[in-house]
Amino acid sequence: MKPALSLICLSLLAGPALADYPETLSDHILPGYAAFAQATAALDQAAQADCAPEALRPAWNAAFDAWLGVAHLQFGPVEDHGHRLAIAFWPDPKALGWKQQKALLTADPAKLEPEAFAEQSVAARGLFGLERLLYPTEDLPADPCPLIRATAHDLATMAAGVNAAWVGGYGDLLLTAGEPGNTTYLSRPEVRQALFTQLAAGLEFLSDSRLGRPLGQPAKPAPEKAEARASGRSLRNVVLALMAMRQMVETLTPDVPRTLAAFDHAIEVAQGLDDPVFAGVTDPAQRLKVEILQQAVQRLREVVLEELAPELDVGIGFNAADGD
């Protein structure tokens, strides 16, 4: 077992051929959260300066792009205090977020103060909360400016907190796996297992939710259920999520040619789709193209289980895969 190495040492020592999870930390996770913190800080600054929706949209889109670099990482600091849900609460089939935002738009301004706002429902906050204000699909009951500012500030605060937690200690827990005193990861294989789980779950979410929800049943397509439809980002989110997960795989191991090829194929199919919000799911010919993309993602997930899992010597959790 290797001794603990600081991040700096690792980035100097590790080359591509030695890819292992310390590289996932240094080349994927940490830069991903740093970029997300930076993009949301920029969004916050822009919102405090000018909260006009049209003016804020580029900064909001940049923040969403940055989120997709790490959105598949559903472990560690982002799970504390419900931050991941609060950053991106989707899907929201009962429109819980919008109901609470409507109340907040006309509520006592004290509820928008940072500490009070951080106590608001996770459904009402984050990127999707902002999307509903920056790309409104119905008339708003009041000037959205104070709520836009509060939401942008809250988002930046959460992103900064998650980034700080990774830099300030959680990353070391990955590197010191198996060492005395580390009861988060009892061995290095446990870290590989945790990282693999993110990929398997991330691809499942892509297939079942990002693509599966608008596809619905063949007799009952549901284009209105596409993610980030109001902002026109549904397909973009799929492409960026695939790219982020591909990059994560490269940091874990270079020896998975079929996995990387399956990623490339899925990304190519997605990029070739001329349907930014999957509106075509109601038209048989267009729908087929979205289904082909979904099948490419499903096949990709199978290849990940067939090739990447044994390469990392991990699998779906013993109990998580069993059910009862």
Binding site: L85, V122, T183, G317, F318
Partner: protein, 351 residues
């Protein structure tokens, strides 16, 4: 009906000496697990040491421990057609239980307080109508069966007065491949049976939680805490915990807003002890703690955590990576780590 084989197995069981749990060092828990490619049943001390390990023929689901004698029954994964009763001192199989033709075990069972009877949750293979099989533990001979009061029973628990609570999960499954056949019209319930199997009370789920399958039970001061698995839209936050006092309506205990999806709609095991109720979710990699009134206290993270039970030193949890953990609202403390993938359930032994 007692088959010739069961009769002979029963004779064998009755003729052997019956050791007590004290002969085994008073294990606090039973846990099934997988070591390499071998399935085992372990007896664990309250501090997580393995006191014995016995081979099992295949992956099990849950076990039930005889209250006095050092014997346990390990159930096959559902739908199963075997359960093995083991002498935990020698590892010798005491009996192989086989349900009648057309019935399947559903993974759980419970002994009566005096240890004379074993009750097993079962379904009629076609249609999943629930039955409780009754076995005489002197020779492990089947002596009868009762209607469980619903479809797809899973866990069963005996109250202190001998009445029986059944978690009728409501799900009709295909008898061969476990696929779920009635999710659009399922209706889980909790049934209360007399010690003689008569239906005394039954509560169904409210309409908006009709797809929340009641699976596992833990005893509370006034009845049971029950754990649910959501078969509806996974994006909808629903409670995984309920409390039921017979004669009253069930009370649902949602988590905090921030943790509303932490369990991924799935509670695998439940235990009560030290004023706490713990629920686990292997898919969510989370253990959730509530107080006795059902208010959420903490969400603790550990990958593939699944078993949880109350021992003499408080709640203990097990995971599919070999870890055994002491559970408290301020966190999980590592008790021991074994080269064993701990299976779904941890079973507390009566002390």
């Amino acid at each position: 009906m007692a088959s010739r084989r069961a009769f002979l197995a029963g004779l064998l069981a009755a003729s052997l000496p019956r050791p007590s749990w004290a002969d085994l060092g008073n294990p606090a828990f039973l846990a099934a697990g997988k070591r390499g490619s071998v399935h085992e049943l372990h007896g664990l001390s309250s501090s997580g040491d393995s006191l014995f390990a016995l081979p099992l023929p295949a992956r099990g689901h849950a076990a039930a421990a005889h209250p006095l004698r050092a014997e346990a029954v390990a159930f096959a994964r559902r739908p199963g057609t075997f359960a093995r009763v083991v002498n935990c001192l020698t590892g010798t199989p005491l009996a192989e239980l086989t349900p009648p033709v057309g019935r399947q075990f559903n993974g759980h069972g419970a002994y009566s307080a005096d240890g004379q009877w074993l009750m097993t949750s079962e379904v009629v293979a076609e249609g999943s109508a629930g039955r409780i099989g009754l076995w005489d533990t002197a020779r492990y001979i089947r002596v009868g069966e009762w209607d469980s009061g619903g479809i797809g029973p899973h866990d069963i628990k005996l109250l202190a007065d001998g009445r029986i609570v059944v978690a009728n999960g409501g799900i009709q499954t295909d008898p061969t491949d476990r696929s779920k056949l009635n999710l659009d019209r399922m209706q889980p319930n909790l049934a209360l049976l007399s010690p003689n199997g008569a239906l005394l009370d039954r509560v169904e789920m409210p309409a908006d939680l009709r797809q929340n399958s009641i699976r596992h039970l833990a005893l509370t001061a006034r009845g049971v805490a029950f754990a649910m698995q959501w078969e509806g839209d996974p994006a909808l936050p629903v409670p995984q915990l309920g409390l039921w006092t017979p004669g009253e309506a069930p009370v649902f205990c949602p988590p905090d807003d921030a943790d509303s999806l932490a369990m991924k709609g799935y509670a695998g095991s439940i235990a009560t002890g030290a004023g706490l109720t713990a629920l686990t979710s292997a898919p969510g990699g989370a253990l959730m703690l509530f107080d006795a009134a059902g208010a959420p206290l903490a969400t603790l993270r550990r990958a593939d955590i699944s078993g949880v039970a109350a021992g003499p030193a408080g709640l203990v949890a097990s995971d599919g990576q070999g870890g055994l953990w002491s559970v408290a609202p301020d966190g999980l403390q590592l008790l021991a780590r074994h080269p064993v993938l701990w299976d779904n359930h941890l079973v507390a032994l009566p002390l």
